[in-house]
């Protein structure tokens, strides 16, 4: 029993057509990026507007992936590894901290709740340029400069406000009846949280985890500022390498950008089912 009501055929066709057009327009700029990436040496053809590449060459991808630094180390793999480690850890740490905090904010009333929530929100508004130098100094004094752990710490903490807010919003929509029932049955808050609330909130957790991963993955400014070795750079830093003072190596720029976006796209593809789990929060039978 779903919304499969009497749909006129034309309505369905209209939807398909509309979605197709919109999807095409949406990915058109990216198609151009793909075209540039596949065009080998003659990357940017200014006057050729077609998104279909006229030359097919994987040279740019090879060059990006096989790049070496001055000491002859293979940096792409290393930087990919760095990015993966940093983003994965950021997500795990960030989401764990955020879940517990958001649950507390959502379910309990306590002194300081309102102001702490505001505090989380306010910190989103701090302008980055103001904090760059002080953050650098703090990282230096704590010895976390030029380390991956340092990046993880900074990324997870700065992604916290957003995660907490998103998760709290979702937690708010989950009715408390189930939890109250469990508490009456004698379960501890932790058990209630892990066995009842978390599964129900999976879509939210999945989305927030995705956001967290993405912001850590794409982050460029702190990465290049804090790291001083090519083998500690993360991937987005390398992308910027191809933008020079007077020239842009469009082919390599495009190829590396695409390579960097693949994990995020695949992650989203994999997490899709959490959005479609069709879960009805009405686990309460009989209302």
């Amino acid at each position: 029993m779903n919304s499969n009501r009497a749909f006129p055929r034309w309505s369905l066709l209209l939807r398909y057509a509309f979605l197709t057009v919109v999807a095409f327009l949406t990915i058109l700029p990216v198609l151009w990026v793909i075209k540039i990436a596949l065009s080998g040496e003659n990357a940017f053809q200014g006057s050729d507007l077609s998104p279909i590449p006229s030359v097919l060459s994987l040279k740019n991808f090879y060059d990006v992936v096989l790049a070496k630094d001055a000491q002859g180390n293979w940096i792409f793999g290393r930087q990919l590894f760095n990015s993966l480690v940093v983003s994965a850890l950021t997500t795990v740490v960030g989401i764990s901290l955020a879940c517990t905090a958001a649950y507390a904010f959502s379910r309990f009333r306590f002194v300081g709740r309102r102001s702490l929530l505001m505090l989380f929100l306010i910190s989103q508004m701090f302008p980055g340029i103001l904090m760059m130098v002080p953050l650098y100094v703090i990282m230096q004094k704590t010895g976390l400069l030029d380390t991956l752990v340092g990046l993880v710490v900074v990324y997870s903490i700065t992604s916290l406000p957003f995660s907490v807010w998103m998760l709290k919003g979702y937690f708010d929509t989950i009715p408390k009846d189930l939890e109250e029932a469990a508490i009456i049955d004698g379960a501890s808050p932790i058990r209630v949280f892990t066995t009842i609330v978390l599964p129900l909130a999976m879509p939210a957790v999945a989305i927030t985890a995705l956001f967290s991963f993405m912001s850590a993955w794409n982050e460029f400014v702190l990465a290049y500022t804090f790291m001083s070795k090519e083998t500690s750079f993360t991937l987005p830093v390398t992308i910027r390498n191809y933008v020079g003072e007077h020239t842009v190596k469009w082919g390599l720029f495009a190829a590396s950008s695409l390579l960097v976006s693949i994990p995020v796209v695949s992650l989203f593809f994999a997490l899709q089912r959490y959005l479609v789990s069709g879960l009805t929060a009405g686990g309460v039978k009989g209302g």
């Binding site: 940017f44 200014g46 630094d69 760059m132 650098y136 500022t225 390498n241 469009w250």
Partner: protein, 417 residues
């Protein structure tokens, strides 16, 4: 209890991240060993080179490392737009490099505001400076102190497509004529293609008419007659003759030239790396303007600087001298296709026969030094705007330039506060 594979992955990630931390810390935690073994001093050098220039630098550094027993140079390639930020944040906190390579135009700011440059006036042998092209050294002198050694220079020259332009124009009028002849709107061919909305690329014309953009004391002269004349001339090129396309970016310049749709291009040595393989091209000096003046582009000096916070200044100076000696210059020229600052290289037979490099060398003697004063930073944007309004738009050049002058003066006031 079975460990969920997910948590196992997380644990592994954490361990590897921690390992990195240890690796990073280890070198600094074993100083005593270094003293005993008399390990070479490590000199850190930051640059923003890519591809050929990077390869050339790496080769030079390799030979330096072999030659000098007690010195080991370590390179780090930093993305260009991140370079200034990274250097200014890291250096005063002791996390910066010993040496770094960059253009000269930030010297004023680095010395006055950030205090990250060390003057090398008294640290180099007396006759070292003689090996360089004079202007490239002048660019590195600020308030009577020398702050770096020049590696290469950058200026504009005239690239042209021999299929569309038989001979390089020698005067401004010839330039106009040739451009008009080559322009064919239907085929999309333009006579003169360059990034015409930027001051940097229009400067040759302004200087050719005798205009001064920023004088040595840091005062702008944007609304004076020569500048107005230059803009009027450019306007004619754009509007009447239609030989200059609008809104051209560097990527478009490249692609138009490679497609054979640009008869002449104003660009610098970096353009060589952009030209498609097999495309015929020629380079010539910028033509002469009226009254004995030539079109003179800005000269940029790319130099190697010494950080004021370096702990091994003596060794760093040795590296600077080695990087700028004539053998290294030759390598940088041949592999990196750089227009090096060393004079002697240009009289070597293999370089004389390289027409492109020789043209740039000749052009270097007809340039205006790009001001390194902090005031220059605000001039770029204001003049870009004025050029856009007067040359591509309909605003009277006199008015546009007066506005620009006013704006620059008020911004300079803001800077001084």
């Amino acid at each position: 209890m079975r460990v969920h594979p997910f948590w196992l992955c997380v644990f592994l990630c954490f361990v590897s991240a921690c390992k990195k931390t240890e690796e990073a810390k280890r070198p600094s935690s074993a100083p005593s060993e270094q003293v005993e073994k008399k390990e070479p001093v490590e000199i850190v050098l930051w640059h923003s080179y890519r591809e050929q220039e990077k390869a050339a630098l790496e080769k030079v550094v390799e030979s330096i490392n072999k030659r000098e027993e007690g010195i080991k140079v370590k390179l780090l390639a930093v993305p260009y737009d991140a370079f200034v930020d990274k250097v200014t944040i890291a250096t005063p906190r002791g996390q910066g490099p010993d040496l770094f390579i960059f253009a000269h135009n930030m010297i004023g700011d680095w010395v006055d505001r950030e205090h990250i440059l060390e003057p090398i006036t008294t640290r180099i042998p007396d006759d070292v400076l003689k090996r360089f092209i004079k202007d490239t050294v002048r660019a590195l002198v600020y308030k009577q102190n020398l702050y770096g050694l020049p590696l290469a220079f950058k200026s504009l020259a005239l690239f042209y497509d021999p299929d569309l332009v038989p001979r390089a124009p020698e005067t401004l009028d010839e330039l106009r004529a040739v451009a008009k002849k080559a322009t064919d709107k239907e085929k999309g061919i333009y006579g003169l293609v360059y990034e015409a909305s930027l001051l940097y690329f229009n400067a040759p014309f302004i200087h050719g008419f005798g205009g001064v953009i920023l004088d040595e004391m840091g005062r702008p002269h944007l609304d004076e007659k020569p500048v107005v004349d230059a803009l009027l001339f450019l306007r004619k090129l754009v509007k009447e003759d239609g030989v200059v396309p609008k809104g051209v970016t560097s990527a478009l310049v490249t692609s138009l030239f490679n497609e054979g749709k640009a008869a002449m291009v104003l660009s610098g040595p970096w353009f060589l790396g952009e030209i498609k393989e097999g495309k015929r091209f020629e380079v010539a000096m910028l033509p002469a303007a009226a009254q004995g003046r030539r079109l003179m582009p800005f000269l940029g000096s790319e130099a190697i600087f010494l950080s004021a916070y370096s702990k091994h200044k003596e060794e760093a100076i040795k590296v600077m001298l080695a990087l700028t000696d004539d053998e290294s210059a030759l390598i940088r020229l041949k592999i990196g296709r750089q227009t090096v600052a060393n004079e002697k290289v240009y009289s070597m037979p293999e370089v004389i026969s390289d027409k492109v490099i020789s043209v740039f060398r000749a052009q270097a003697s007809n340039t205006v030094l790009m001001p390194s004063r902090p005031e220059m930073q605000v001039v770029w944007q204001a003049m870009d705007m004025a050029i856009n309004q007067a040359v591509f738009g309909d605003v009277d050049p006199v008015l546009a330039l007066q506005n620009a002058q006013k704006k620059v003066l008020s911004d300079i006031e803001k800077m001084k506060k």
